[in-house]
Amino acid sequence: MKRLYVCIALIGAVICASTAALVLLKNAGAELLSCIDECLEGIEMKDKDISGELEALDESWGDYYVKASFITRSSSLDDVSGSVARLRSLLKVSPDEFAAELNSVRYRVELLYESQIPHWRSVF
């Protein structure tokens, strides 16, 4: 009977940890997405300096990366890291490309969260 209780506890822990991971990823993602929105708003106001927002975005991505790396393949996170690292140079060259890259980061972050939700299609 002891084994049964240990297994029930383990399954409970797995379900709790999986749910907590989803919530953690959602919260970290929401913070990152708000940083992206601030950068996009800043770029729309042509003469605004958005280096502060970019700094916050970098930090937010670093935080998100650490949390997401526990539950998702690091190769897909590394792709987004590459895009985030390119943002500063893109901002100097072309604001349009900067916005496009930012939207791409946004899309991939949303996709990362979405891919962790157990929909029928993802389970099967």
């Binding site: 049964l4 399954i11 797995v14 940890a17 526990f70 539950i71």
Partner: protein, 223 residues
């Protein structure tokens, strides 16, 4: 490299823990469901060790889940005979009253070679000796030899013998196993007395066995 090392250590500990959680039965003959679990575990555990792109949690979660479900299933099997038959199958009598059930052999896809090989594993080299043979759910063959062909026992010969327990290991590499010593009904005082009689120090003993009657055997360490 270090990541792979740490992952291997973590997954080794988890898999050993999980095998212990599945119980001793897992280490011997495997039921079909346990066989599946063992194959799955070995496969799942290697993926996050080899590929550092995969989070180690992606290995731990399925291992814990599969083992836990296996334990649940074994508990349900304990209480439901129908469920047990569904998961583990049931033993099949392949030889009854010395007669081979050929239709069952076909059903089990058991060839004559398989049957003879399984009999030989049971030290039966002549099929005419078999009264009853059962294919267990683990796939192993259990054989009951005809009385007329069996080994003569003291009971058959009407010889009275006492049913004693086998000798137990009481000293292992110079270390006294107090639990076993108590089990056969002796204490450290008795052991010291025996060792003094044999003019042997405890740390010179490689192994010592003894039964309940006090009959002992000492093997000294090689110098």
């Amino acid at each position: 490299m270090l990541i792979v090392f740490f992952r291997a250590v973590i997954l080794y500990i988890v898999v050993v823990f999980c095998m212990r959680l599945m119980g001793k039965k897992q280490l011997g003959q495997l039921q079909p469901s346990e066989f599946v679990v063992t194959i799955l575990l070995s496969n799942i555990a290697t993926l996050p060790i080899e590929d550092i792109n995969i989070p180690v949690m992606m290995g731990l979660v399925p291992i814990v889940t599969i083992v836990s479900f296996d334990v649940f299933i074994s508990y349900i099997s304990l209480y439901s005979k129908g469920f047990r038959r569904m998961v583990c199958g049931s033993p099949k009598i392949i030889i009854n009253e010395g007669k081979i059930d050929q239709s069952l052999m076909k059903k089990l896809r058991f060839t004559v070679d398989d049957l003879l090989e399984s009999l030989r594993e049971q030290q039966v080299f002549d099929i005419a000796q078999v009264q009853l043979a059962v294919v267990e759910t683990t796939g192993q063959l259990s054989v009951y030899v005809k009385h007329s062909k069996g080994t003569l026992t003291p009971e058959d010969a009407d010889i009275k013998v006492s049913d004693d327990d086998p000798p137990q290991l009481i000293i292992d590499d110079g270390e006294v196993l107090n639990d076993t010593l108590a089990l056969i009904g002796f204490g450290e005082g008795w052991l010291k007395h025996i060792l003094d009689d044999e003019r042997t120090a405890l740390d010179e003993v490689f192994m010592m066995t003894c039964d309940k009657s006090g009959k002992y055997n000492i093997i000294k360490k090689e110098k």
